[in-house]
């Protein structure tokens, strides 16, 4: 849960990166994501990750990203172990494991610097159906709320003598029931209420509602876009044609 909140939940920021057009942020994350898939060797991956760290530094979210990396590393350890058992190849197993961290970080950079409102705008520019956009954005918006709910439910049940950290595995899974049921019930109640509230505020009354904010790319946004694409092309080219697949 800490992984989810630290790695994917938007928090307000004022950095240059936060203020970029959300579409540009999406592009940068997509490019970084693609590059991680093109990587042929661990040292190349290290280069890619250092670019991500640089972006994180510009966006002043270095500490959050570092924590996400650490938390993701435990999943990665698992990936590494499975791969090693299956293939016996140390280098490629390590590559898969570290690549997973890189993929998570590239995605996380987009989500932690893009507010739900911006996300909505991005999705609209792709002409996705309004209901789909609304559903997705609402889901994203409610992640922090659900996490807060979970904490409060845990508090309430602990105060009734529930011991979460005790007993064998089966007992621990059973202990989750008093947490999960109120959580699900609350979410269902809330979504029903939200739907009613939206309808009573005329959601869906006209086929083409107007928007409060219109995004327009500023010169900075255009410059960053060009720069990002150039860097991507250069990296991709050098990974395939210039740099050796194995570190000499």
């Amino acid at each position: 849960m800490m992984w989810l909140s630290g790695g994917f939940v938007f928090r307000r920021g004022t950095s240059v990166y936060h203020r970029l057009d959300p579409r540009v942020k999406l592009l940068i994350s997509l490019l970084m994501f693609s590059v991680t898939l093109m990587v042929q060797a661990l040292y190349q991956l290290a280069m890619v990750i250092s670019v991500m760290v640089a972006v994180a530094a510009v966006a002043t979210v270095l500490r959050r990203v570092a924590r996400t990396m650490l938390l993701t590393a435990s999943f990665s350890g698992f990936i590494f172990a499975i791969n090693l058992l299956a293939t016996g190849n140390l280098a490629s197993s390590a590559l898969y494991a570290v690549r997973f961290v890189a993929i998570v970080v590239s995605t996380s950079l987009f989500f932690i610097t893009t507010s739900p409102d911006e996300l909505e705008q991005v999705m609209k520019t792709f002409r996705l159906p309004r209901d789909v956009v609304f559903a997705f954005v609402t889901a994203v918006r409610f992640i922090p709320v659900m996490m807060l709910d979970t904490l409060q439910i845990m508090d309430a049940q602990k105060s009734r003598g529930l011991e979460l950290e005790k007993g064998n595995l089966l007992k621990r899974v059973r202990n989750m029931v008093p947490i999960l049921i109120p959580l699900v019930v609350n979410s269902v109640i809330r979504s029903g209420e939200l739907a009613e509230a939206m309808e009573s505020r005329a959601y869906g009354a006209v086929p083409k509602p107007t928007s409060l904010v219109k995004y327009r790319a500023r010169p900075v946004d255009k410059a960053v876009t060009v720069l990002a694409i150039l860097l991507f092309a250069l990296t991709a080219y050098s990974f395939y044609f210039l740099l050796p697949a194995h570190f000499p």
Binding site: Q152, S159, N186
Partner: protein, 268 residues
């Protein structure tokens, strides 16, 4: 029974919800905690059961430091009914919901049965014994959570906003229940915005604002302190306002607004 020694607590987002709070609540006392939204009342309550641990300072419950024990252990002594009933109801039936804590504390089955029946009757919920707690009305859910806490007979009972959604009769009954608990020697802490509900109980009142304690005293005295009440955004009980108004008239029936204390006592 409960002792806060210079307790400060800061939430993850940097909000200082408790700011050097010192407080002592003796065994058998009835205490009301009042104050505007976000004053830190719920945060205070969560410190008593060790759900939150102080950043600095100490919380002692019955002489035990909350940092040195678990919430499950503390809650055998301290029962807290939280603000939002939807955050805890989960069982298939009202009866099982009530039995949950009792089972956790290892009560024998006959006793569980007895305590559940007692609680259902006390809160007028017998007819729902077999129904799902999730289909109850808002006020009934709230009452069920109170019944759940009282069922295991804790020494200290903490109620966070117990009157929310309760009709006039239920509120009166609840006030009666609180007096009953006090008369059996329980320590009761009530967090509430409902001054008119608290007034007839005549509790000791703790007024909070911005994580600090602004005022602490018996209701009859503290409710005359307009300055404290205003700054914590707490309404004065209408009865107090009325007698204060009377006492300010030229041919005052009361020489002293504090006379209201006598009235408060006689008005039960």
């Amino acid at each position: 029974m409960i002792e806060f020694k210079d307790v400060t607590f800061v939430h993850q987002n940097g909000v200082r919800a408790l700011d050097s709070v010192s407080l002592e609540v003796g065994k058998g006392e009835t205490v009301a905690v009042v104050g505007e939204n976000g004053a830190g009342k719920t945060t205070l309550v969560k410190h008593v059961t060790g759900l939150l641990k102080p950043k600095s300072g100490k919380v002692l419950v019955d002489g035990v430091d909350t940092r040195e024990t678990s919430t499950a252990q503390l809650s055998r002594k301290v029962g807290v009914a939280f603000q939002n009933p939807d955050h805890q109801l989960f069982s298939e039936s009202v009866e099982k919901e009530m039995a949950f804590a009792l089972r956790n504390f290892g009560f024998p089955p006959e006793l569980v049965e007895k305590r559940v029946s007692w609680g259902l009757e006390l809160f007028g919920l017998e007819e729902y014994r077999e129904s799902s707690p999730l289909v109850l009305s808002g006020g009934e859910k709230k009452r069920l959570t109170l019944a759940c806490i009282l069922a295991w007979d804790p020494e200290v009972i903490i109620l966070d906003e117990p009157t929310v959604g309760q009709d006039a009769i239920q509120k009166e009954k609840l006030a009666g229940t609180i007096r009953l608990l006090t008369s059996t020697g329980k320590t009761v802490v009530v967090v509430s915005h409902d001054i008119e509900f608290l007034w007839p109980i005549q509790p000791r009142v703790i007024v909070m604002k911005g994580g600090r304690i602004l005022g602490d005293g018996m209701a009859a005295e503290l409710m005359l302190r307009k300055d404290v009440l205003d700054s914590a955004r707490v309404a004065q009980p209408q009865l107090v306002t009325f007698f204060e108004g009377l006492s300010r008239r030229p041919k005052a029936t009361f020489a002293d607004p504090l006379e209201v204390r006598r009235w408060a006592g006689g008005n039960r």
